[in-house]
């Protein structure tokens, strides 16, 4: 994980294949990037190692835990299973893009209010799954909330506060629209 000595400050372990790089252009949290990436690099490694966006976490690296969830072209995905090369022309939203300047988003505020995090490792992924849920269903049932975060493991909270936080954020977001 994030051992500075071992990874020279790069969170996710990564070895360059040495193969010719691929030119890609994409947008992350509203900023446009042009990069030359290694074909064997994942989107998660791109976020960490190239863009220095360390909010998105790597847990399992195999699609099981959801810690690496980001929103890619409007859909929540596990960034550990996406190749960086696949992000050409993509629009990406990561946890860093949820708030506005120094102000946290409603969703983040509710996570704090409801104690929906302890160690916080799962939180960026949870937030992205929740964001994607509220984008497609502004008024989700508890069942829909549970289904939306079924791919996000939390080893600390027992999930109940997370569900409450998402439910409350949904209400507040709907009210904010009126």
């Amino acid at each position: 994980m994030c051992s500075t000595a071992k990874n020279k400050g790069n969170c996710v372990e990564y070895t360059d294949s040495g193969l010719p790089k691929i030119a890609i252009g994409f947008e992350v949290n509203g900023d446009r990037f042009e990069k030359h990436v290694d074909p064997t690099m994942t989107l998660l490694q791109l976020l960490h190692n190239e863009l220095k966006l360390f909010g998105t976490k790597e847990g399992c690296g195999e699609g099981e835990c959801g810690a690496c969830s980001v929103i890619l072209n409007g859909k929540a995905v596990n960034s550990c299973l996406v190749l960086a090369a696949e992000a050409d022309d993509a629009t990406i939203l990561t946890v860093e893009g949820l708030g506005q300047g120094n102000e946290l988003s409603i969703l983040q505020q509710e996570f704090i209010k409801y104690d929906a995090l302890q160690c916080g490792f799962c939180t960026p992924g949870m937030l992205m799954s929740a964001r994607s849920l509220l984008d497609r269903q502004p008024n989700p049932s508890d069942e829909e909330i549970k289904e939306a975060i079924a791919g996000n493991f939390c080893r600390c909270t027992g999930y109940v506060p997370i569900i409450e936080a998402i439910r409350s954020a949904a209400t507040r977001e709907r009210e904010a629209l009126i």
Binding site: G66, C80, N152
Partner: protein, 284 residues
């Protein structure tokens, strides 16, 4: 990752097939939810990755009355589970799609990737079996079509030949009154292949079709059992009979997910549950 691969993203099927033919160490990439995991575990080494998502025609998902349903090779599992028309006409397929992994995985995983990976427990295999799906294949020798039963040839093995890709899958149209149901038993909901997966379809002509996954080296149709169900009504007696009889038609294995005995038990229990559910909905 030990693999050193380059990445190509053709725009047409012809380009893809030509690349595959000329570059033997190539792996087709759809959603990557099987492939990238294998590469990261170094269980698979490849020289080239061929991403098929840039081929526009492979994103086709449509239903035409009289013709049926067509699902292109780049169509996402979530697109299938969310399509009201599939829920309405091919319910077992919609249910199986909705039960695969997590929301994030379903936003990447494809139905065609699921069958090409050819796991004995592949979730989307059994609905395709009961709807007599046809696999559309394109390769150096041109196009061909294959019934889904003939597509699976062994554990993680398919009938695809060198240089061939699957372009899509089609399901014949269904009549009014046709109904189906899918159930799976897994260790963890949302995170695992089925220990047993089963689809049962009852047509408007009261014909029964049954497909099962994870109880043989490939997903299979239970043709002998289907014959025995031919002249039986769907009622509680039949459901109880089915629960026991099904054990004579499956050949489960013991593996990391479940023991043989457990799979026998679950097969019977799930089959009965499905029949009872269909009955309650008025299926005879």
């Amino acid at each position: 990752m030990l693999s050193k691969f380059d990445y190509v993203k053709p725009k047409t099927v012809e380009e893809a097939v030509a690349f595959l033919e000329n570059n033997p160490g190539t792996r087709v990439l759809a959603g990557g939810t099987d492939l990238i995991v294998l590469l990261r575990r170094n269980l698979l080494i490849t020289d080239h990755i061929l991403d098929i998502k840039g081929i526009e025609g492979l994103h086709r998902l449509d239903y035409k009355e009289g013709k049926g349903l067509y699902i292109g090779a780049a169509v996402l599992v979530n697109e299938i589970s969310e399509a009201p028309m599939i829920q309405d006409k091919y319910r077992a397929l919609s249910q199986a799609a909705g039960s695969l992994a997590s929301h994030q995985l379903r936003n990447r995983a494809t139905l065609v990737g699921n069958i090409c990976n050819a796991s004995p427990g592949a979730d989307l295999s059994t609905p395709l079996l009961v709807y007599n799906a046809v696999v559309h294949i394109e390769g150096p020798e041109g196009k061909r079509e294959l019934g889904i039963e003939d597509f699976f040839t062994g554990v993680k093995k398919t009938a695809l030949k060198k240089g061939e890709i699957v372009t899509g899958v089609s399901l014949p149209d269904v009549q009014e009154g046709d109904s189906s149901y899918y159930k799976k038993q897994a260790r963890v909901k949302g995170h695992d292949l089925a220990t047993v997966g089963i689809s049962i379809r009852r047509t408007s002509e009261q014909e029964t079709l049954m497909g099962m996954a994870a109880i043989a080296p490939t997903p299979i149709r239970l043709r002998e059992l289907e014959k025995k169900l031919k002249n039986r009504d769907f009622n509680e007696e039949t459901a109880n009979w089915l629960k026991e009889e099904i054990k004579n038609h499956v050949k489960p294995i013991s593996d990391v997910r479940a023991s043989l005995e457990y799979r026998f038990l679950v097969s019977g229990a799930l089959a009965k549950k499905i029949m009872m559910t269909l009955m309650e909905e008025g299926v005879k």
